[in-house]
């Protein structure tokens, strides 16, 4: 998009913004809370801060007062922007419910212009109120107790307030595109309200512990989340998605049909071999990019673990490997790993880990799945680092302890992570011509194909190798290393 196109888009978007802001200014249900939260509430917080500071000073606990003032500043900024969620839901899905969206969609406005116009309209009045509230609160503090505060901290809170408004509104757009009524959108908005409540609680802890640098990380995380939500919103806020359905329904039959057609496939080829050729291999090809990302992430995990080893050394007695080679086999037998039941146990442990990664990934656009799958490789890197400190080659460690079963287990982890990333990706950017639900079900079918067709067989082989091959190879390596 060129600068002139961007300017044109913004000018068209502002037509919508102006109308909506004007409309809000005529609605006492929006004006009343904004005025209260802008003027009355900051003054109340001033009073509270003054009283609290005076009270805790009597007991020599000035630190409580020092921490309370910036905390209340954050609250003063947050309360008005919480209105932006309601305005956004009303603006996006309320218009749909009142049928005033269709004339807008019939006009030459592009989806992007409408999206930006409505986003700005939902953000500007609450943000203005938040800034005004912060100014009133800070002015009050200066006049009453002479508190001026650290400019960086004030900047952090203003930036946090702004980004939180942006995150809430962009999340509200995503929620709105999936609802056909304000009621349904309000119910779905608990997916925004609950995480935000937790975030505010976390921020409160940060403020009271005065770990203000953490606020920058929160800001960064919120910005990244907002980018994802905006990407989703831009993708989902289109005429087709907005007017393509009239009622919210869970059509399990249709969902199953979508999943089944994507899992079994409709092409030629019979039997398991046909299914692999027709469905599994093309799915693997489709997963090339997330597979590449997973390989990179696991490589980073190994490197990070390896470089942490010198910083966190294991106790010397734990690293006594002089007779470990001899004890190793006995230890494994004692804990029952050197048997088929040990293989079954390992298989289910690994399966549980991958299932957990999938479950976490579904709720985090795949991010938590990647982190969880990185952890064991990070540990492997860490132990390789410890071995290096003992003079054993890290390559030898990997060959002896990891590679025999890792040859199967690591690709299984890579593929699971890739399929979960794709599940997350399908939410951020549904394939063209498909709804959010269709895209997600298709990605779920891909995950199921990969899990059933590749990951589970790999885990079976990995478990057998880990029990019957790895100990043998590891013992040889340890014996060689122990001299």
């Amino acid at each position: 998009m060129t600068l002139s196109q961007a300017r044109f888009t913004l000018s068209r978007a502002l037509i919508v913004t102006r109308r909506e802001v004007q409309d809000q200014m005529r609605d006492w249900r929006i004006i009343a809370p904004v005025v209260v939260l802008t003027l009355f509430f900051p003054l109340l917080m001033n009073f509270t801060a003054g009283q609290a500071v005076a009270f805790v000073a009597e007991y020599g606990a000035n630190i409580v007062g020092d921490r309370l003032i910036p905390f209340l500043l954050m609250v003063v900024g947050f309360f008005p922007i919480s209105v932006s969620l309601v305005i956004a839901l009303e603006s996006f899905v309320g218009e749909k419910e009142r049928y005033s969206l269709e004339p807008l969609l019939s006009s030459p406005l592009t989806d992007m212009q409408l999206y930006i116009g409505k986003m700005l309209a939902a953000m500007i009045p609450p943000l203005f109120a938040a800034y005004l509230g912060i100014a009133v609160y800070l002015s009050g503090l200066r006049l009453s107790i002479g508190w001026t505060g650290d400019p960086i901290l004030i900047l952090q809170i203003v930036a946090l307030t702004t980004v939180q408004a942006l995150t809430m509104v962009s999340a509200a757009v995503v929620v709105s595109t999936q609802a056909t009524s304000v009621r349904a959108a309000n119910l779905l908005s608990s997916f925004i309200i609950i995480p935000f409540s937790l975030l505010i609680q976390g921020e409160s802890l940060v403020m009271f512990w005065a770990q203000y640098d953490v606020l920058w990380w929160i800001l960064l995380a919120l910005l990244l989340l907002t980018l994802v939500l905006v990407r989703m919103g831009v993708q989902l806020f289109n005429r087709e998605e907005l007017l393509g359905k009239d009622i919210d329904e869970i059509n399990l039959k249709a969902m199953w049909a979508t999943f089944k057609i994507n899992f079994v496939g409709a092409g030629r080829g019979h039997g398991v071999g046909g299914w692999y050729a027709r469905e599994v291999l093309p799915t693997l090809r489709r997963l090339r990019l997330p597979i590449g990302l997973m390989v990179g992430a696991l490589g980073v995990a190994i490197l990070v673990g390896y470089h942490q080893a010198p910083l966190y050394r294991l106790p010397v007695e734990a690293m006594n490997i002089s007779d470990l080679g001899a004890r190793f086999g006995e230890t494994l037998k004692t804990i029952g790993l050197h048997s088929t039941s040990g293989a079954v146990w390992i298989f289910f442990i690994n399966l549980r880990a991958l299932a957990l990664a999938t479950a976490l990934g579904i709720f985090s656009f795949g991010v938590l799945a990647v982190i969880l799958l990185m952890a064991p490789l990070g540990l492997a890197g860490y132990f390789a680092g410890q071995m290096t400190a003992l003079g054993i080659s890290p390559a030898l460690f990997f060959v002896g302890f990891i590679l025999p079963h890792g040859l199967f287990e690591i690709p299984a982890a890579v593929l699971t992570g890739a399929a979960v990333l794709r599940l997350g990706g399908s939410l951020i950017a549904p394939p063209p011509g498909q709804t959010l639900g269709q895209g997600w079900l298709r990605a779920l079918a891909d995950w199921a194909k990969i899990s059933l067709g590749v990951v589970i067989p790999l885990l079976v082989i990995a478990a057998l190798a880990e029990v019957f091959v790895t100990p043998w190879v590891a013992q040889m390596v340890l014996s060689a290393a122990g001299g």
């Binding site: 068209r12 037509i15 109308r19 409309d23 005529r26 609605d27 009142r98 049928y99 005033s100 969206l101 269709e102 004339p103 807008l104 969609l105 019939s106 006009s107 030459p108 406005l109 592009t110 005429r239 087709e240 007017l243 393509g244 359905k245 059509n251 039959k253 249709a254 049909a257 979508t258 011509g433 709804t435 639900g437 269709q438």
Partner: protein
């Protein structure tokens, strides 16, 4: 000009519109009739580039609905099924907002809005909030919104549904004027009298398919059979009825009247009159018995069940 060919729209688990082919030339009105849920709104939404056709194509004033949505929307005026006004606005600012969206200059949109408000008798209500408007007034304002940018194509969904008889006549007259002004108009309506009065073409849509299409006369001929004529004499027919049986199909008769069905009235009626004259029976009136579009519609829908 509105052209569609094989226009089809499928949603997740059903086909809302199937293989719709239509042509509406400038200066023509096509009335799209059909039960609720037949696919009228989905068709209109595809013609406005709001929904993308699953297959087939449509062109509005030469702009393809799939490839050039901006061109389509700039050339089409839509009166949606629900007026969808903003209740905390006044008519002039509402029209100014839409005029700006359609790229009209401030002076042009003020002039156009003023002209249309005047034409539809809405000038006096300009100071009121739209939330205070009656249903009919809201409908008229929505129609004004559709006409604001002077589009060559109009898609009107139930334009008179909430109006009092006087306002409805005003709107019907406006549609007639718009047709005379060489606009292509699709009119979705349940009011069959209105459709018959305004439409050059009728299309009946059911379960997403066009099940009947043609001029009102063609449809009547196709679905209700040949025209039925009523002849009245100023004296007794005096046995002439039997002499007409080789020309027409007699349906009923009385001492001084006869009702008959005729496949080609333009050719046969003069012969009927000739025979009457030859028998010195003075002709009082000869007219076609009016047959309603409602009768056609009922036949068409029943035949499709």
């Amino acid at each position: 000009m509105i052209e569609t060919d094989g226009l089809t729209k499928e949603f997740e688990n059903f086909r809302a519109v199937s293989d719709v082919t239509l042509t509406v030339r400038p200066g023509e009105v096509l009335a799209l009739l059909g039960p609720n849920g037949a696919g009228k709104t989905t068709t209109v939404r595809m013609l406005t580039s709001i929904l993308k056709p699953t297959s087939g194509w449509a062109r509005i004033a030469g702009h393809d609905v799939a490839r050039d949505p901006a061109g389509v929307r700039a050339n089409v005026g839509v009166l949606t099924e629900h007026h969808g006004l903003y209740f905390r606005m006044r008519s002039e600012e509402y029209l100014d907002f839409f005029g700006e969206l359609y790229g009209l200059a401030p002076a042009a949109r003020r002039a156009r809005a003023g002209e249309l408000l005047e034409r539809f008798g809405m000038k006096e209500a300009a100071g009121k909030w739209l939330g205070e408007y009656s249903k009919g007034m809201r409908q008229k304002l929505a129609l004004i919104r559709a006409l604001l940018h002077d589009p060559p194509v109009l898609l009107l969904d139930e334009p008179t549904s909430a109006m009092d008889p006087q306002s409805a006549k005003l709107v019907r007259d406006a549609i007639t004027d718009l047709r005379a002004d060489h606009r292509a108009i699709i009119l979705c309506t349940h009011n069959l009298n209105e459709a018959e009065q305004l439409a050059d073409q009728i299309a009946v849509i059911r379960r997403g398919r066009i099940i009947a299409r043609g001029t009102p006369l063609e449809l009547k001929h196709e679905w209700l059979g040949p025209a039925v004529m009523e002849l009245r004499a100023s004296t007794s027919l005096n046995g002439v009825v039997n002499e007409l049986r080789d020309l027409v199909e007699i349906m009923d008769y009385g001492p001084d009247w006869v009702r008959y069905r005729v496949a080609d009235p333009a050719l046969t009626n003069p012969q009927v009159v000739q025979r009457l004259t030859a028998r010195q029976v003075p002709l009082l009136t000869l007219s076609e018995i009016p047959r309603s579009l409602e009768a056609v519609y009922v036949q068409v829908v029943e035949a499709d069940q």
